[in-house]
Amino acid sequence: MGRLLCALLLFWSMAAQAVIETYQFDSPELRDRYNVFVKELRCPKCQNQNLEDSNAGVAADLRREVHRLLHEGYSDDEIYDYMVARYGEFVLYRPKASGITLYLWLAPAVLLVLAVGTVAVIVRRSSRQSDDLVTDSQAKERLQRVLDSAQEESEKP
C-alpha cells in the first residue's frame, strides 16, 4: 500500500507557481522600450533584481505601470522621473550623474588614478634603490677596480 502511494506521489506534481504575464503592445517599438525599462529599473523589494527578474508583488505592479505609461504616451525621461519621484534614485540601475550619485560615477576613476599613482611611486622608488645598491663610496671604488681588472683579464687573448 505504502509503495503504491509512493509510486503515485511520483506522478503528482505541485501546481506551478510561475505566473506568465502577457502584455499586449500597440507597436513593436513600445515593446522594445518596455523591455529596456524592465531591465534598467530595479525592484525596490528584492534589491538585487531588476523588474523583469523579480516575482515580488510590487515588481509586477511596476511592470504594469511601465506598460500603462508607455501606452499613455509618456517619454522615456518622464517614465524615469515617475519612478524616481516614488522610489528615489535607488530604482535606477543607471543613476543620473548629478548630485549625490556623482560620487558613484566618479569613484572608479578616482580609485584608478590613486592605484596607478601608488604603483608608479612604488616602481620608481624600488628602481632608484636598485641603482644605488652600494652606497659606500670606498666600496664603490673597490668594486669598480675589481670589475675593471676582470674586464682586462677577459680581453687578454
Binding site: 525596490p44 505592479d61 511596476l62 516614488r86
Partner: protein, 179 residues
Amino acid sequence: MGRLKLFLPLLVFAVLAGFFIKGLGLDPRALPSALLEKPLPEFTLPNLDAPGQTLDNEAVLGAPTLVNVWATWCPSCAVEHNFLNYLREREGVTIIGVNYKDNVDKARVWLSEKGNPYRYNVVDLDGRFGIDLGITGAPETYLVDAEGVVQMRYQGPLDRHVWEQKFKPRYLELLMGGE
C-alpha cells in the same frame, strides 16, 4: 615618522572595521522614502466602511496623522494590529488605513474581529496608490502632519519600540506645533 608609518595598516583596519560595524546594524532594505518633506500624493479612493463613497486628501488634513498600509494577506499586519488598537485607544492617535491590494470583504471581517483602530480606511485595490506612496510591501506607516506633508516613513510592523524611538518625539512635536 618612519615608525608611525608602521601603524598605517592598523589605521586602515580600524577605519574599515568602523564601516563594517556600522553596516551590521543597518537594514539594507530600509530605503529612504522619496516622499519625505513632500505632500502625500493625491488620492480619491473608495471608503472601505461606506460602500459607494470615496475619500480624498481632505481625510488626512487638520491634525498629525498616521497613514498605515495594511492587508489581510500580510502576516506582519496581524502582528501590528494590536499595537495600532493601543495607539488609537490609549494615545488617541489618528490613523488612516490604506487597505492594500486586498479582498474588501475579508478586510471588513478582519476589522470587526480584531477591532478597528482606523478613523478611515481607503481601498487601494490595484496598488496604484501604493506605488504613488513608494511602498515595497505591507505594512508600512507614514507620519503626515496637519498640512498633509509626509514627515516620516517606516517599513515593517509598527511596535512599541519603533513608536517610542522613531515616531513619538516627532508626533508630539507636530501635535504641539499645531495647537
